[in-house]
């Protein structure tokens, strides 16, 4: 398939899922009334207050997290890492916890920035460790990430327990779109800008993924590129945590599948990753809504189960020497 036909097919799939997402839920909306315009005022209210926001939030979070995962993999030259497995999500949650304790009155945007700063520190710590140990490929890199995220996660849990914030922590660490309403998810539009930035810098990230020496040899400022990448990754993590909570595995599964099918030239593959992430998270959210109607299973859970299975399969199929 050509680049264009792949993009068209993926866009169609995302559009179809989006329409399904608009229909499905506690209140009834039939495709017929949507198509013929036979919508009551109540229907419209439902659409604009709940269904559109939820669908947009899902698309934005999915696309953003998948691209963030890809960038993290390029920067560490390792396929088996993503923000939620190397301590970036936990660090961002620590940031939210800290700002909730010390400055609860701050506007949500400022809180998100604090979370992003903490996430950035976590990402930089991870990069410093693998750089120090001269690690690139192999399974030691994701293991170190898991250890790091375990340590930070334990500390966050301890703090939340001490200060009676376990419930808030739960909402940050478990992705859930059921609370998304107009006025409560708009920060996620930042993820769109950040993925656009990633597309602009795609060549540089690909070159950084080939290693520092290759990048420098071609005149790409390696340190600046890594810094920009880490800022994108931590901002995406922070906005998703603040708005909907951690959604695991998207950043791992989607880039790996795309890499197997279409390689690692970011200029070509970032758009695939973006669409794939949106489609996967949307599908998981819809699944969570229909499995136990009228109850909902949070997307963090459906994604956790589905993602873990897919990821294990990938892990066995891909030779670690290349990852």
């Amino acid at each position: 398939m050509t680049n264009r036909s792949i993009l068209a097919t993926a866009s169609l799939a995302v559009a179809a899922l989006s329409i399904a997402s608009l229909m499905i839920g506690a209140g009834d909306l039939s495709p017929v009334s949507l198509a013929t315009g036979g919508l009551t005022a109540e229907d419209l209210r439902l659409l604009f207050v709940s269904r559109f926001p939820r669908t947009f939030a899902t698309l934005l979070a999915g696309a953003g997290l998948a691209v963030a995962g890809l960038i993290m993999q390029m920067l560490s030259s390792n396929r088996f890492v993503e923000p939620s497995t190397i301590g970036v999500s936990e660090s961002a949650a620590l940031g939210m916890l800290t700002v909730t304790l010390l400055a609860p009155g701050l506007p949500i945007f400022a809180k998100m920035l604090v979370a992003a700063l903490f996430g950035l520190a976590g990402a930089a710590l991870f990069m410093a460790i693998i750089h120090r140990l001269r690690l690139r490929s192999g399974l030691l890199v994701p293991l170190i990430g898991l250890i790091l995220s375990g340590i930070i996660g334990a500390f966050v849990n301890f703090l939340a327990y001490r200060f009676d914030l376990m419930q808030s922590l739960g909402s940050w660490l478990t992705g859930d779109f059921s609370m998304v309403l107009a006025g409560r998810y708009e920060l996620l539009w930042l993820a769109l800008g950040l993925t656009a930035l990633a597309i602009l810098a795609a060549d540089r990230f690909t070159l950084a993924g080939l290693g520092r020496d290759v990048a420098v040899g071609l005149g790409v400022p390696y340190g600046v590129t890594v810094a920009i990448g880490l800022v994108i990754v931590s901002l995406v993590s922070a906005v998703t945590i603040v708005s909907v909570g951690v959604i695991p595995f998207v950043g791992l599964v989607v880039p790996n599948i795309v890499s197997m099918l279409a390689g690692d030239n970011g200029r070509q593959t970032i758009p695939y990753v973006l669409l794939g992430g949106a489609a996967l998270v949307l599908a998981c959210d819809i699944l969570g809504r229909v499995i136990r109607m009228p109850y909902e299973i949070p997307v963090g859970t459906t994604m956790g189960v589905l993602g873990a299975v897919v990821f294990l399969t990938l892990l066995f199929r891909r030779r670690p020497a290349h990852g």
Binding site: R212, V214, G219, G263
Partner: protein
Amino acid sequence: MIETNALSKRYGDTVVVDGVTLSLPAAEVTAIIGPNGAGKSTFLSMIARLLSIDTGTAHVCGMDVAKAPSDALALKLAVLRQDNQIVARLTVRDLVGFGRFPHSRGRLTGEDRAMVEEAIGFLGLQDFAERYLDELSGGQRQRAFVAMVLAQDTQTILLDEPLNNLDIRHAVAMMRLVRRAADELGKTIVVVLHDINFAAAYADRIVAMKNGRVAVEGRVEDVVTETIIGEIFGIEASIRQVDDQIVCLFRR
């Protein structure tokens, strides 16, 4: 033209490149030879600004490599490193295309594409252009990296052991290509070689390094002698003239 002045690098207490002062003229092929650990790769990496310089200076095409902007230098200097471990799945054509990055910033023009195809052709990779790097043999992959360096189309080219993994036919083709680039296009080429016969056959000038220093430097016939080779590598070698070429034989 490459000039280094008292170039040094140390790791802890060990000096691995020790005050190397060299002047390598333009449009010539210089071969660097020397035992493992002599400091050849370290020396090359410092000239290519991949490693920081501890003391001394290096100039390429009149630019101080420690001070010149990296992207400006990438238009004048291309480097092939000794080991190229790449985990990314890129096709040969994509990889070679990245060699044009200093010129095109990623937006390949028709001219860029023509140069990419030319470089792929020079290295005999036409049949592999759409293959992923992890689907190539070691020698094919090595040629893909050299093609990327050629596509960068710079006045100065540094090649650290380009013959790694190559069979004899491709090794000869590679060295002929190097020779042509110097003779026909006036490129300045520095190439690290372990095979003294290849160095003797194709280089204009040989720099022999040992323990971080330049032991001997000069024309092929002045460097490839029984005493000098014996001293540098600590082995007995017989040097003969066959037709018009100097060859080096190693005793059983």
